[in-house]
Amino acid sequence: MSTLTDDTLPITPQAMRDEMIVFAGMAVLLGLVPLTGIYPFFVMQALCFALLACAFNLLIGYGGLLSFGHAMFLGTAGYCSAHALKVWGVTPEVGILVGVAGAAALSVVTGFISIRRQGIYFSMITLALSQLLYFIYLQAPFTHGEDGIQGIPQGYLFGIFNLAKPTVLYYVVLAGFLGGFLLIYRTINSPFGEVLKAIRENEPRAISLGYKTDQYKLLAFILSGTIAGFAGSLKVFVAQNASLTDVHWTMSGEIVLMTLVGGLGTVFGPVVGAFVIIAMQQYLAGFGQWVTVIQGVIFVACVLTFRRGIIGEIAHYFRRSL
């Protein structure tokens, strides 16, 4: 049985160097965005989703765990941050901290429950847990139900950076994205990441070698959920609202789609996938509901003919790891 991410190349100094070059190129390109005429709001949104997709990819690509409920971390961190900022009137850095803490706490609980089953059962459990949260947020008073939390003040980050200015906000979001990305990159290239890959390839064997695989999987789940939450907190400053759409399971599906299009288990795939999908939603908005159909077609096409995704295909062609 082939796993979701076959032919992963070993980590060589060459591969590390390739990845560092691509990373530097990506950072420079993204840093130049405000100088071009590109709508910064679109790129900021894409960056939030890119970080979210990278966090999701940490689980599926390196741990073999397909979470179909990752939207719950996005939404939970969003609600926590939004509530802290608007009702408690905290500063932006505290607001982000509250959101990340909320997502981290949630990932501890949901991770503990969901890693008890594997494969498709794991996916169904994460999906069910996120739907449970959806109903809770629908009824809880602090989320304001269908209306969501709106008009969130942006404020001054660390008392210096005025987040109401689009350019300042852009660089803050970019810094957050790059920081999160590097954290994930460091994780997958650490001994911890190696054990995670071993578990993905052959869990019984990893157990027989003495690894407590459940602890590794749980830790990966918590890390992934927390970083996804960080993306959700950043998104609050971009969109200035937190709503039920972010918790709904269709959002979880979109996260899966982004990662699949870019390439499961590739370092840069989720970033490319997020940009492709967000751009598609932006430019195809005029087609209304047909966007759902197009997304479905992409899903089917990816699974049937294009399983490596964009970056995966490129990396495979050049026999490099990206």
């Binding site: 089953r117 494969g119 498709i120 739907q131 997304q295 699974v303």
Partner: protein
Amino acid sequence: MQALYAQLLVGLINGSFYALLSLGLAVIFGMLNIINFAHGALYMMGAFCAYFLLHLTGIGYWWALIIAPIVVGIFGMILERTMLQWLAGLDHLYGLLLTFGIALIVQGVFQNYFGSSGLPYAIPDYPEVGGFRGLQGGMNLGFMFLPIYRGWVVVFSLVVCLATWFLIEKTRLGANLRAATENPTLVRAFGINVPRMITLTYGLGVGLAALAGVLSAPINQVRPLMGADLIIVVFAVVVIGGMGSIMGSIITGFALGVIEGLTKYFYPEASNTVVFVLMVLVLLLKPTGLTGRAA
């Protein structure tokens, strides 16, 4: 007390849908090793099929109960032959992703043509038997008022569930099917066409979903997203029951419907979430599910 019985009945009806859907999922999972995420969309297609039959051709409910599952079942078999077939031997998760994509396409197309609001489908008023006009109206049982249609749904789906159980567990065809699940190569060596059996099995599972759709059309409105949220509850039902046995799916389906109905009576705020909460409890106490084998 009246309200309690009414909620129990609603619970039994929802339980019938859970049972029919999780039964279909179990049958498909057994042969194809795929969790059919498109199941909700196919359930919706069953309901729409009944709607089209009535409004375009004038074919009523009774024929729709037979025709809709066949039509949707054939659609399912085409899906299996053109797409799902190519995933054999790949990770299970690809099947989940592919069927998720199919669900998006099917639901998206219906949403484009019918919006998100519901279309009405009337309860049939024929045949007339002993003072009752078809399945309309109700009867007074003394302790509660029973709408005929609702009673019919519960009884009919129970019969269908048991018939499916009988087909798979007690007939020669079912024996071949179970054998092919265990060891397809060996069963092929006996001259049984396993790929065709897989296709037919998918058709059967999909047909069960479509049948549930027709049954639900007069109760719930016919909507493009009617299956989308239901399928997640059914997934929770599957996690609770496990995919181990056919009977397990049926019993778990009905039982959870009833528990949901009771919650609606005693603590309505939790009625949407009780199935998921139960899922968490079962996972904590018995991770393999109530009747399940280890995945």
